[in-house]
Symmetry: C2
Amino acid sequence: MTKSTDELDAVHRSNQMWGKRPDMIVRGRLPFNAEPPPSVLAGNEITAVDTFYARNHGPFPDIPADQWRLSIDGRVDKPLTLTYDELTTDFEQHSVVATLACAGNRRAELLAVRPIPGKDPWEHGAISTAEWRGVRLADVLAAAGVRREDGLHVEFLAPDVAQEARPVQSYGSSIPLSKAMSEEVLLAWQMNGQPLPRAHGGPVRVVVPGYIGARSVKWVTTITVQPAPSENYFQALDYRILPPEADADTIPEGEGISLSSLPLNCDILVPTDGEPVTAGALTVRGWAIAGDGHSVERVDVSIDGGHSWRQADLRPAASPWAWSLWSLTVDVEPGPLSITARAWEDTGVTQPESPASLWNPRGYGNNAWAHITASAI
Amino acid sequence: MTKSTDELDAVHRSNQMWGKRPDMIVRGRLPFNAEPPPSVLAGNEITAVDTFYARNHGPFPDIPADQWRLSIDGRVDKPLTLTYDELTTDFEQHSVVATLACAGNRRAELLAVRPIPGKDPWEHGAISTAEWRGVRLADVLAAAGVRREDGLHVEFLAPDVAQEARPVQSYGSSIPLSKAMSEEVLLAWQMNGQPLPRAHGGPVRVVVPGYIGARSVKWVTTITVQPAPSENYFQALDYRILPPEADADTIPEGEGISLSSLPLNCDILVPTDGEPVTAGALTVRGWAIAGDGHSVERVDVSIDGGHSWRQADLRPAASPWAWSLWSLTVDVEPGPLSITARAWEDTGVTQPESPASLWNPRGYGNNAWAHITASAI
């Protein structure tokens, strides 16, 4: 696909406007959606802010920190409204290294099976890792006198308006109270030691490690503790695994499996699809991540389509909520090259083989074996 | 395979001796190992005691209740020795409906890929569900003044001697203290309202819902809280997912992935492999179970090899630790019949497709799509 000079200029300007490196692959300019080329993610436990993927549903709110307010209401005994100063000075501060991933990362492989209208063709880059700093959501909820009843949910609302929602509405979602009270869940105002950029939810966002990125609501302004999951479009209708035969346009609210924790998954970042490589010793690099609360125990790499495997060198993850980077040097013959990788969790579980068996009408949750093809010269 | 009358008599006698129905498929007489034919498991949330699979590593200890003692020691402030009377009267009693499954259930499908020497060819029946009654392990550990340090493990030892172990030793295993303190983990002396039979660990066994059956130690007599997992053969060497290229006979202790929580899995119980069925409406029945702490959200059934799927009717599970039974009536043409099923977890995760990609040297953890072939007349 070739792009006109005007288009390339516009892409370049949008990357520049949001502090992104010029080689980000822009999936949409408004709302701004972009992913880094896979090779620039490789080998770095922490993704630079200018490289971190951007996944958005509306234009970015522009909220000066001194005008930002956060309301906490619902099933709480002492509803609160906090200013930025109060949030950042009244509670103990914590940092967590956490990988965020869009539920649609690796959708391109599902698209190759069957079309998925209206959804961006994310390839390998809708996943990144940062060190987030802020306060525990649990501490803020406790200050509001949160009720500890079974089955409660915590809804996050933000002012960014999503034209794609039916009806048009601002963005929101929810997580179970049990997860919200876990120590890794933050209200964050720093990313890699810098003030949280507007493009990443500044002044303050939610960070829900271990869950799909869609639950880490940016520009959060309202938190409601309630007896049921959010009725927001992005919780009740989108971000669900629908059965393959379902019609995404007419399916009623609440159908399908609502996404929450990330599945066991891995991907190959170097080399990437179609990249010419030199025959001989080739170092394959990638990431692996386990489901919420689990760890990656092993990553296997195959250059014969899964007939035989070798174990990759697996770096310890920076935190229980971060990806594990892996690499393996293989010997490559000239000619077509096929590389497959799969991860194993601490429970002995591994990934499904093929995107074909995971295809779903909205193209979420692809955690099939990682696979790329290239050629060696 | 035909068996001599003598063999059939011996099988019949061993089933009778241990209170099992005569049609149990006996995998070994000493130690006694047997699984029910799949059809008798179908449709029953609770498995009758005479039908419940038996998986053992040594001859059954014969411990009268009044001579049974349980020692609790290690990282506890008040080491305890309890009698049966004390265990059954000094603590609050609880019941839990829990499915136990052998980590080697469905090994026959892995064996069809490549040989697995020295391991029983369990088919569809090394899984059953009972209502267990006893006291919480957490309450007993609390009475012993268990230390609440991070990273501790709880080892269970029993007097049954396993000739297969290297060196020969009595059976033991361990679970993390965090799981041991969970309310579902019991020291049980009743099964489906009856005193726990000797064949199932009577007078008292551990029941660890959500974990592989091997951790639910029968005839338990010693519980030790310790800083590392058990060094018993069955924890340190067996019950691990080894990489496919490993040599199970020479691999050192601690290699491979130690099994703990059961993986997302399902199976077809009716019809079963090779069973002739009548063309027309056919009700397919089976079970599905999710990983520890999760639930089954959907079961798909295919009669065209996974090309198209229909959703099965899924009965609510009797507890978070029990299987979910499912059924679906399909229309069957005369001729060869292939039925495939797969389950989806509440996180949107589904099972790997093929046993070939899960083959491992000890044949554990097969959670590939369920598959049977038969013929319709």
